[in-house]
């Protein structure tokens, strides 16, 4: 059953240490996560995180300590994350894509005291990156970090130990600290610290990916996030009988909350792969036989074109939104007739969806469903500040006990209005049935010759005509203020004249792009988050 408030007096544990203890006790050796060759059962997750938690406690961490995590999806991430959170410290997962300058910025803004980091991932050498980020960092000998550019950061612990790095900067130092205290005492202290974690305590700071502004640290508390994800699990019937495949990175909200925490709450099994080649990912899926697949379709879009794909047995997959790898019989004929979902870091992942995996009637094409349990929504006109009537496009505002506690370092009244509403910056309209329809980012609305154009609407039409992804933006125009411009992403050249003619038949003339640009997928400017870099895209139009 879904619940509209955090505390309902039911059996759901409202803090992570309680939840972990319960799942380890109930599920024991059942697999919790499988990441390529990395496997961790529920019991192992509890035991390994207990060992690390003891090291953290003996090294001075506790409530109020902000611990950064720099790991790709895998056992190392899970153990570090659980260890930090179970002692009441605040976990701050950092994107493994981050460049040194970005790491320095995140560490400073999130008040990180301790950083737990992997040694290397893909092309990243983290000891090297961190030395670049913090000029004062010297990992060749013992000591602590004293840096004016990151005044809170005192310790970094690498695992596995990188070569040339002194043991004081590795997990070895944590183990040594724990060994100085008798086991029985440390376990009793850990039990006490876990008991003192309250559902209202901060659990995690997740950063927004920063597509339209600098990344913001979003604070979620134990009780609200656990209850919200439990509600979402109920709606998608995600329980311990399921094996979920998802390649969402765990340092962002979708991976952290909807996927990883969701799996722990469900007591299910989570499968993912860091393999760089399609065949490696397919090996994992074929071998681990997931029942559900979830995440961003782009993360698996390359799999079907792998030569080995045709001979693969992916028949275990029964449902999910990664349509490219669903068995053919389960693939929707028209994905536009499936409910979309709206998720955002501030809402602890999904906030609009529908517990419905079937095709919608045509009038509901493009629907994002209704507010998640415990969420109120309203559509507000940006200019008047008034609530919009049914059908009118305006900004989506949300209110819920499950929304973020706030942005780290920003006051509540700068984030929520006095009545507790959070303005999402996303444009929506709501139909008579209460279903929500997306119209793009509020800031992305193009104002051309006095009229508003929703990029999303134009993008959908271009996609429908050409079958290609399109990105529609406003570029400066001396006469019209802004001019509608479209980037069409395709490996083949596009006949823009024909496209423009087709668009004129479907759209009011002011909505039809006046400028077009053709880009191949590999030429599309992206940010480290994988999202499209809109400012860079706008610059491409300067010369054309």
């Amino acid at each position: 059953m879904t619940q509209p408030t955090v505390d309902t007096g039911d059996a759901l544990p409202l803090t992570l240490p309680r939840l972990l203890e319960m799942r380890a006790r109930e599920l024991g050796d059942a697999p919790f996560i499988v990441v390529d060759d990395d496997r961790l059962s529920y019991r192992e997750a509890e035991r390994s995180s207990r060992v690390l938690a003891r090291g953290l406690i003996a090294s001075g961490a506790g409530k109020g300590t902000h611990v950064g995590l720099l790991f790709p999806n895998g056992a190392g991430y899970v153990v570090a994350c659980l260890a930090v959170i179970r002692i009441g410290a605040v976990a701050v997962p950092l994107s493994t894509f981050s460049k040194p300058r970005e790491i320095a910025e995140l560490v400073r803004n999130a008040d990180i005291d301790i950083l737990l980091s992997t040694k290397a991932h893909r092309s990243h050498d983290y000891p090297q990156a961190l030395r670049t980020a913090f000029a004062e960092l010297d990992t060749t000998g013992p000591g602590a970090l004293w840096s004016t550019s990151a005044p809170t950061l005192r310790r970094i612990y690498f695992d596995p130990p990188p070569s040339g790095v002194h043991p004081d900067w590795t997990y070895h130092a944590l183990q040594r600290a724990a060994q100085s205290v008798p086991d029985g005492v440390l376990d009793a202290v850990l039990d006490g610290m876990e008991a003192d974690v309250a559902p209202s305590d901060r659990m995690v700071v997740i950063h927004t990916s920063g597509s339209t502004s600098a990344p913001k640290g979003v604070v979620h508390t134990h009780g609200a996030l656990i209850r919200h994800i439990d509600n979402l699990n109920t709606n998608r019937r995600f329980d311990r009988t399921e094996i979920l495949f998802s390649n969402s990175p765990w340092f962002w909200i979708g991976g952290f909350a909807y996927t990883l925490l969701g799996t722990l709450i469900a007591g299910a099994r989570l499968v993912c792969s860091n393999a760089q080649h399609a065949a490696g990912v397919l090996d994992v899926i074929e071998c681990e036989r997931p029942t559900m697949v979830n995440g961003f379709a782009q993360s698996v879009a390359h799999l079907p074109s792998d030569p080995s794909y045709a001979g693969r047995d992916l028949s275990s997959i029964r449902r999910g939104n990664l349509y490219p790898i669903l068995p053919r019989a389960l693939q929707p004929a028209d994905p536009g007739l499936r409910h979309g979902m709206l998720g955002m870091t501030e809402a602890g992942s999904v906030c609009l969806d529908a517990p419905n995996e079937n095709d919608l009637p045509e009038p509901q094409r493009g629907s994002f469903g209704r507010p998640a349990p415990g969420f109120e929504s309203r559509i507000v006109d940006a200019e008047s500040g008034r609530v919009c009537p049914t059908g009118m496009v305006g900004e989506l505002q949300l209110r819920s006990p499950f929304l973020m506690q706030g942005y780290l370092g920003r006051e509540r009244h700068d984030t929520f209005d006095p009545d507790g509403w959070f303005a999402t910056g996303d444009l929506f309209h709501v139909d008579e049935a209460g279903l929500h329809y997306f119209h793009g980012r509020a800031g992305s609305m193009i104002k051309t010759a006095g009229a508003n154009v929703s990029p999303r609407e134009v993008e959908a039409e271009i996609a429908d005509i050409t079958g290609c992804t399109a990105i529609v933006i406003g570029v400066p125009d001396a006469d019209r203020g802004q001019r509608v411009a479209a980037v069409v992403v395709s490996s083949e050249p596009v006949d823009f004249e024909r496209l423009q003619t087709s668009l004129r038949e479907r759209l009011s003339s002011y909505k039809v792009p006046r400028t077009f640009l053709h880009l191949r997928q590999e030429d599309l400017p992206l940010m480290s988050s994988g999202k499209c870099d809109l400012p860079a895209l706008k610059k491409l139009f300067d010369g054309n």
């Binding site: 006490g192 209202s200 009545d419």
Partner: protein
Amino acid sequence: MEIENPTVPAFLVHRAATSGETIALIQDETSISYAELDRRSRELAGRLVAAGIGKHARIALLAPNGIDWAVIAYAALRVGAVLVPLSTLLRPPELVAQLRQASISHLVASPGYRGRNYFADLESIVPGIVEETNAGRRTAALPALQAIWAADALPSLSARREIVEALAESVRPADELVILFTSGSRSAPKGVVHTHGNALRAVASGLDLRCIGRGERLYVPMPFFWTGGLSAGLLSALVAGATLLTESDPTPARTLAFLSRQRVSLFRGWPDQAARIAADPAFAATDLSSLGPASLPALLPESRRPRPGARANIFGMTETFGPYCGSRLDTDMPDDKHGSCGRPFDGIEVRILEIESGAPVEPGIQGEIALRGPNLMSGILGRLREHTFTPDGFYGTRDLGVLDDDGYLYFKGRADDMFKVSGATVYPSEVEAALRTIPSVAQAFVANVRDEEDDREVVGAAVLCRDRMELATLDRLARERLSAFKVPRRWVQLTSLDEVPMMTTGKVDKHGLQQLIAKSGVTV
């Protein structure tokens, strides 16, 4: 406010730069200037950082008012630690409970105060705790606690000044400033959490009405570990650039001499504190001509005393970090507003809600006072937001009040204290106020008690009379002033205020009062 993004570290630096020579704090015969306060707190902050105190760490401070209290508190705050002031009156089990409740990592305690030894107190509940903790070992009883330091023996190794300054600059208005423990007359202590921004704005919002400006010499006989001393005293002085005067061990006679010698210009505190000082034999001969008109009336010469009720009954609570409602204290309110608490300050919105339904009521109707706004606390330790605030952000104070058409607030007692007699609601504060208008009644305390014979709730009263009165006379005078159902049925005549059971917080112990009236009372 003089600072756009208010934080305590920013204010310390600002004061040192703009009022460096001004005396910040006088403790008995010792004083410290703002420049010196800035220097000493920065120096100690470096030592705290070197000893492992980080941003967001929770530091408990257990010490009497004084310069040391201020230096230690400001040192912790300027590196972003969260200050948890503890009452010097806590009994040992309460002390351990609050250290646990707030997950204190570092405790700084006065080595001894008024015969108390806090280290021995801790040991009496958790044997071996001081030695274990200071040897770097944590204990299961207080799992978060990493260090116990005597206030006069703090660690000496220091971090570099640049690190301390970088940490100070990292403190933002949204960061937590303080967790203040407060207790209602019946509930368990709760930890009220304030941020730098909300607390400093709350302080600043009342300074003008409280007549605290630069150069003011302010005497506040309230402990720094509660809202009164911290907000209306220490931080009011910092934000205003005023001088705060405090005594480590006040008695009425000593305080009178201190006020006179130090030329105190403003005396604020609880009215009974002023009354006690005015009752001292030395009062008449003491020169208090320096006291400004906004001081508590009991200490002003007869000719300068406002009529009762003419000045706002300035009103606040721990959740609002001190006063949130008032009117200029050196000016009488309009005649028709006498007896009110004045109007809410900027940053706090007041709404009166019907007790049962929670719906807003019309002006003039009594209900529960609910508050919201950017100057309100950020929350209560360990309590879910959904259990603290309504979805639209209001905090129900459990105080009863009325807002009039002009936005003046009238306080009507505690919702928790109200009770029903034969189906009608009685507000103890209303009955107490009525009884105090009887000329010979100096003080009155009212609570519900069980009438064993009739097996029902009745109104009980404990009164302190200037001369002993006949019960029948008291009953008759009360009947002239109150509806029949509000008139006390069971009376106790006190011979001294010391008979009234008080809690360590200075509030009346409701349960003890009920027992007193039940046991020693006489039924009319």
